[in-house]
């Protein structure tokens, strides 16, 4: 499913020749694991905290049969209900926001509502990015969720070490990430973010957790696309027609081979 997500993301970015492809490349396995195994439509919720990642949510939801193919064709265009920086309007995901660092608060609010309204089994999956950890609000929400033991809340952190101005670790020091979240009362797991099977297994185990969980998914914005030039901007990839064609061919071949 992750390869299919990447292929759809290329198709969504190609018409304009640039876009948030890197986000889909780094997070494809995480979205595949959530939409493909853990998320129960109509019951659970998905929060896509960094709106720029919504491309992956759209692609995954389409793969899961939750949204129609034709809607993706309008992605990011004028008058589209599926903007490139996620905002209100789409049914998928349940919450996203273009101003970063706010999604975890919404996810905590959803988990709290489930508790107040008597839905103990409902899960909320929140996709965050490592750059967002620079926003203080994320830690307000983490502290709140830890204090209230919002155990139905699961964060998938796309730790791709990439932000607009370059590598995250060239700008600030986030490590040790797991220890920080544990200090806030969370269960933290550090894992290979491109291993969809392990991600799915950890998500399944999280259904019985007694504290909120975070999966620190170590990833790369270039993963799964060997044809990307070495200087591709992880935050905003340029995809001219020739490169788009090469990417499509590479991913399609990956889908058809066993």
């Amino acid at each position: 499913m992750a390869t299919a997500i990447r292929l759809r993301a290329v198709a969504m970015v190609a018409p304009r020749g640039f876009g948030y492809l890197g986000q889909a490349l780094s997070a494809a396995e995480q979205y595949a694991a959530v939409y493909g195994t853990a998320y129960r439509p109509g019951t659970d919720r998905v929060v896509c905290s960094p709106g720029h990642y919504v491309i992956a949510a759209y692609a995954a939801a389409a793969e899961a049969g939750l949204i129609g193919e034709s809607l993706l064709a309008s992605y990011g265009g004028d008058g589209s209900a599926w903007p490139a920086i996620g905002a209100e309007g789409g049914r998928v995901p349940e919450y996203t926001c273009g101003s970063l660092g706010q999604g975890l608060s919404a996810a905590a609010g959803f988990a709290l509502a489930d508790r107040l309204q008597g839905r103990p089994g409902t899960r909320t999956f929140a996709f965050l990015s490592d750059g967002e950890l620079q926003e203080g609000q994320v830690w307000e929400a983490a502290m709140f969720a830890g204090h209230h033991r919002l155990a139905r809340l699961t964060v998938l952190l796309d730790a791709n070490n990439s932000q607009v101005d370059g590598p995250v670790d060239g700008i600030t020091t986030l490590e040790p990430v797991a220890a920080k979240w544990q200090a806030f009362g969370w269960q933290a797991v550090d894992l290979d973010g491109h291993d969809a099977t392990t991600i799915a297994a950890v998500l399944a185990a999280g259904a019985a957790a007694v504290a909120p969980q975070i999966l620190i998914c170590r990833t790369s914005t270039r993963h799964g696309l060997a044809c990307l030039p070495p200087d591709a901007d992880g935050h905003f990839i340029k995809l001219p027609p020739a490169l788009a064609a090469a990417a499509t061919a590479e991913l399609a071949a990956g889908l058809s081979s066993p």
């Binding site: 905002a87 209100e88 349940e94 919450y95 926001c97 273009g98 101003s99 706010q102 999604g103 975890l104 608060s105 919404a106 996810a107 905590a108 609010g109 959803f110 709290l112 509502a113 489930d114 107040l116 309204q117 203080g136 609000q137 307000e140 929400a141 502290m143 709140f144």
Partner: protein, 399 residues
């Protein structure tokens, strides 16, 4: 607009005060609406929601000193079918989490009620605590209803009136002792600004024999019996109704030379200014504008049209709030009138010991409104001097 010769009745100063009208009104509303939840940004007693916490502990949420997160939580609760009331001081419910309000509440148009205590320079706590641009900030947000109530009667009615609004609301409230300017017969509405009758001088004598309900000076007392206060309020209401009917004749709803549009804490000095001007032979009328957005432009224009000059008065910067809303309305209608905006003149205030000191220093007194009216009318000579209205502890009179 009210028929000529009448106006919304008001009581006469000094005004008796009550405590926690908002807190009691929210509890009363929450009894009717189980989906109402209450969030506190670490200012529970100060925002009168200790009452809610005591009655509905399972619906009360300590968000702590984390306003951005509190806003995000509120948005998600609203998406789940709950009606969140978010509480802190005005500076911390508007200025501080503004981006969060935009993204989590205003853009999605969710029914979150943002409650901000300590309007303008009513707080002596300095610029960090003085919400002097909150109305402007909230007014600039599409879909936001912005309310700045004048007294305890309106506070309770505004809480009820906004209950069913599908979009977000900002409610600006005075902290501590809340004056009763409007009698119990008053009817706050979301759609109409109110042309005010002149406060009758006879009304006070009618109440002289009644025992007074006074709030504890300076802070909300947690030990007060809310049920007892309700009974007292009902007694007051019947007396107030009588007083309201006996209030003086409506000051110039048909023939005022100057109209004073005021909101919140500036309604009381506006009424006093009307009295001072009228006593000096200049017909004036005060209009209470509790709902600044959406503005009742129909009343604004119909009253301004009959006047020669317009004054606005707000406990707020004169940029972006009530004064600006009035100015926009007049200009768009092509209704040119000399306009004077009373409020903070594009300045921060400061920390101080007392509110009256700040109101005097930063131009929010009755005399400042009189002076503004005099100037707008291009009168020469000394403006009428507004007499001071003394108030005993537990009473409120405008500065």
């Amino acid at each position: 607009m009210s028929p000529p010769g009448t106006g919304t009745p008001v009581l006469a100063p000094p005004y008796r005060t009550v405590s926690k009208p908002y807190g009691r009104a929210l509890v009363a509303l929450a009894r009717q609406h189980p989906q109402i939840v209450c969030l506190s940004g670490d200012l529970t007693r100060q925002c009168e929601i200790d009452l809610f916490q005591a009655e509905f502990p399972g619906r009360f949420i300590h968000a702590g000193m984390a306003e951005a997160n509190m806003i995000g939580i509120a948005g998600a609760l609203a998406r789940s079918g709950l009606i969140p009331y978010v509480h802190s001081f005005g500076v911390f419910t508007t200025r501080r989490p503004y981006d969060q309000i935009v993204n989590a509440i205003a853009y999605p148009g969710l029914p979150v009620r943002l409650v901000g205590f300590m309007p303008g320079i009513s707080s002596p706590g300095g610029p960090s605590h003085q919400a002097i641009e909150d109305v402007a900030l909230m007014r600039a947000l599409p879909g936001m209803t912005v309310i700045d109530v004048a007294d305890a009667t309106e506070t309770a009615q505004a809480v009820a009136a906004t209950a069913g609004l599908p979009g977000p609301v900002y409610l600006r409230l005075k902290r501590g002792e809340i004056p009763v300017i409007f009698p119990g017969s008053h009817r706050f509405t979301l759609s109409r600004a109110q042309v005010l009758a002149a406060g009758g001088t006879g009304a006070r004598a009618e109440l002289a024999g009644a025992s007074r309900q006074t709030g504890p000076a300076g802070r909300s007392g947690a030990t007060e019996d809310s049920a007892g206060q309700d009974r007292d309020s009902q007694d007051r209401d019947s007396q107030d109704r009588d007083a309201g009917r006996q209030a003086g004749p409506a000051a110039g709803t048909a023939a005022a030379e100057v109209v004073i549009f005021a909101s919140g804490m500036m309604v009381a000095p506006a009424l006093a200014a009307v009295a001072a001007l009228s006593a000096a032979g200049t017909a004036a009328v005060a209009v209470n504008v509790p709902v600044i957005k959406p503005l009742d432009t129909r009343t604004v224009l119909s009253v301004a049209e009959t006047a020669r000059a317009v004054v606005t008065a707000e406990n707020h910067t004169i940029i972006g709030g009530l004064g600006s809303a009035i100015a926009e309305t007049l200009a768009e209608a092509g209704l040119g009138r000399p306009l004077r905006r009373v409020g903070l003149a594009d300045t921060f205030a400061e920390g101080a010991a007392s509110t009256p000191y700040l109101f005097r220093k930063y131009g929010l007194t009755t005399q400042h409104i009189v002076d503004a009216a005099w100037s707008a009318l291009a009168r020469t000579g000394r403006p009428p001097q507004a007499p001071a209205t003394p108030a005993t502890p537990g009473e409120y009179a405008p500065v």
